[in-house]
Amino acid sequence: MMRYFLRRLGHAFLLIFGVSILAFLFTTLAPGNYFDEMRLNPQIAPETVAALRAQYQLDRPLVVRYASWVNSLIHGEMGFSFAYNSPVAPLLLVRARNTLLLTVTATVLAWGIALPAGVWSAERVGRLPDRLISWGTAALLVIPDLALALGLLVLAVRTGWFPTGGMASVDFEDFSLLHKLRDLALHLALPILALVLSALPLLVRHVRAAVAEVLGAPFMLAAQGHGIPRRTLLYRYALPAAANPLISLFGFSIGALLSGSLLIEVVMSWPGLGPFLLEAILSRDLYVVIGGVLFSTVFLVTGNFLADMLLYWADPRIRTKSGAR
């Protein structure tokens, strides 16, 4: 157990390290930087721009910059934001928390719906409920995420059922705790709905396929012959047997949801990493972009790590394999 755990953990850290190097490599390919616009301004002396560049070490070679960035990472700063004139980490943490709130809730909800729906559909392959679900997922698959998000936004604006934009009402600070939670939930509803609807069809389809495959296996027939009740049969016997591909899917689904949330955050003005990153890209705020990308990687790698741990717990074959090594 410990060895498997440590190897996976080491793997995760290597990945994050690799991504940070990749991000830095891209920065050297970048033409122009934050201070380029100043250079066009006749009021600012070229020496000032050069001094600023030197202050932020933009004139140093890549290796030196990377080293100093790692140093600032260790000190919990992750570089310096030119636009906000402050260390990157605290800026990012707030946004990352909001993104996390959105994606974690969406992941839980999407899987909470997809598992029963997929099992239900797999049990009735070819019959009406199954076909309805298939049609539903196909319909959701062909509607672009962007269209879905915009459509929901139009709906919300027209009906006034949900607040649009932001994550809290203006007078949020004055609310009682219960009121605060309710306000947050209301603001969460729309982006969550868009995220879940865009992630759901693939999950349902994969769950259905995996469970349908298991249902045809001889051991299921044997279990049925023993008179085990249907619900126990489906959820205690079939689902664990089908768990292996689904757990890998879980890791991947986090990546898909993170990507989805990036767009939906911008469309619905949720104050997460998405709009922040977009703004940083438009203003060439180098370290913020690197930090944002790195944060998303950390989320995804954590998700995959969790999936690996789940797999270890769910699939005895992996336990014996890693034990043998």
């Binding site: 970048a30 196909a138 062909v142 139009v154 990546g255 898909a256 990036l262 438009l282 995804l300």
Partner: protein, 351 residues
């Protein structure tokens, strides 16, 4: 390769849809950049067959819009004169397929510009922009998928065929690319490229960015196929006869990857069209005045547009058939095709 029936069906559907977009000049009544400053945000014109007095007309017609009294953006139909729809009319110049000069359009009307999907802030015809925008978006998707698949094929073939340290290095890098959420990756790569460029340059820029970001998954699939193919008897036999690596790869091993690549293409193209839409929507893609499906929707970022001018949302509905076509093609290709097992194992159809 023998085409299954369902695959052929979806190919025909996609062929027709792409045909419309390719011949955009003919199907679009106007030039996509032509402005009609007198009628901004004109709602879609309704096509009538029955007039005010209740008489039926065999030839459909539209009414012109006029400003409602006392408002500046509310229009109402002016039933005083009807404008019959004419088919195969001569109108704005365009070049069919970029070569053949022509003035023939599918439909139009005399003395009136007709806007079946309404107009945008500059009075440009939304229908024309939609059809022409398809050219940009679909081409971006197709070219991007082409780049991804070529990259994936080369890298996967090298990794699978030569194995050893090359395999290790390439697959570790592939894991790195898979470890990033693809939209973040797209953003990151786009972030470090110039922001304001000419439309053509911007187009190729984002095609390159989109195409380069997704290579890891096809590379892994190709590698898996190559790994199993290189141990097949006929490949060993050919090697025994002294076939060189390049010959073996070209004639015996890579043809085996055909169905995997085809399936991947059917999955990647719509995904990349979406990627282009997303980038252009956010203002990082193809800039105005060139229409693309993404910047067609970008005006919806303003609340006022989203709330007041519902027809600006209509183009999204027109995109659905394209995605449906590609989804149908992908799933009928995956149905018990030889690639099916490998696809499932490595979750090739995801995201």
């Amino acid at each position: 390769m023998r085409l299954r029936r369902s695959v052929a069906k979806w190919l025909v559907v996609l062929g027709v849809l792409h045909g419309i977009v390719v011949c955009a000049g003919f199907f679009a009544p106007y030039d996509p950049a032509e402005q009609d400053r007198k009628s901004p945000y004109l709602p879609p014109m309704r096509v009538h067959v029955v007039d005010e007095e209740g008489h039926f007309h065999a030839r459909p017609f539209v009414y012109a819009f006029r400003l409602r009294q006392g408002t500046f953006d509310q229009y109402e139909e002016d039933a005083a004169r009807s404008y019959p729809l004419r088919f195969f009319v001569r109108g704005a110049r365009y070049r069919l397929l970029g070569i053949l000069p022509s003035r023939l359009h599918l439909f139009g009307a005399e003395d009136l510009r007709i806007y079946l999907l309404g107009t945008d802030a500059y009075g440009r015809d939304q229908l024309s922009r939609l059809v022409f925008g398809g050219q940009v978006s679909l081409l971006a998707g197709l070219l991007g998928a082409g780049i991804t698949l070529s990259l994936g094929l080369c890298i996967g073939a090298v990794a699978g065929y030569y194995g050893g340290w090359r395999d290790d290095v390439l697959m570790r890098v592939a894991e790195l690319f898979l470890a990033l959420p693809w939209l973040y990756l797209l953003f990151a790569v786009r972030a470090f490229l110039p922001l304001t460029v000419r439309p053509l340059a911007a187009f190729f820029l984002i095609v390159a960015v989109i195409g380069e970001v997704g290579w890891a998954r096809p590379a892994r699939l190709v590698r898996a196929v190559v790994l199993s193919a290189k141990e097949r008897d006929f490949v060993r036999a050919a090697r025994g006869f002294g076939a060189k690596d390049v010959y073996l790869l070209r004639w015996h091993i890579l043809p085996e990857t055909g169905s995997v690549l085809l399936t991947q293409a059917a999955i990647l193209v719509p995904q990349y069209v979406l990627a282009e839409m997303t980038l252009s929507f956010l203002g990082l893609g193809v800039p105005e005045p060139v229409p693309s499906w993404g910047n067609l929707l970008s005006s919806l970022q303003q609340y006022s547009v989203l709330v007041s001018y519902w027809w600006m949302y209509l183009p999204t509905l027109a995109m659905v058939p394209f995605f449906l076509g590609y989804l149908g093609l992908a799933s009928s290709l995956q149905e018990r095709g030889p690639a099916y097992k490998i696809e499932r194992r490595s979750l090739g159809s995801l995201t």
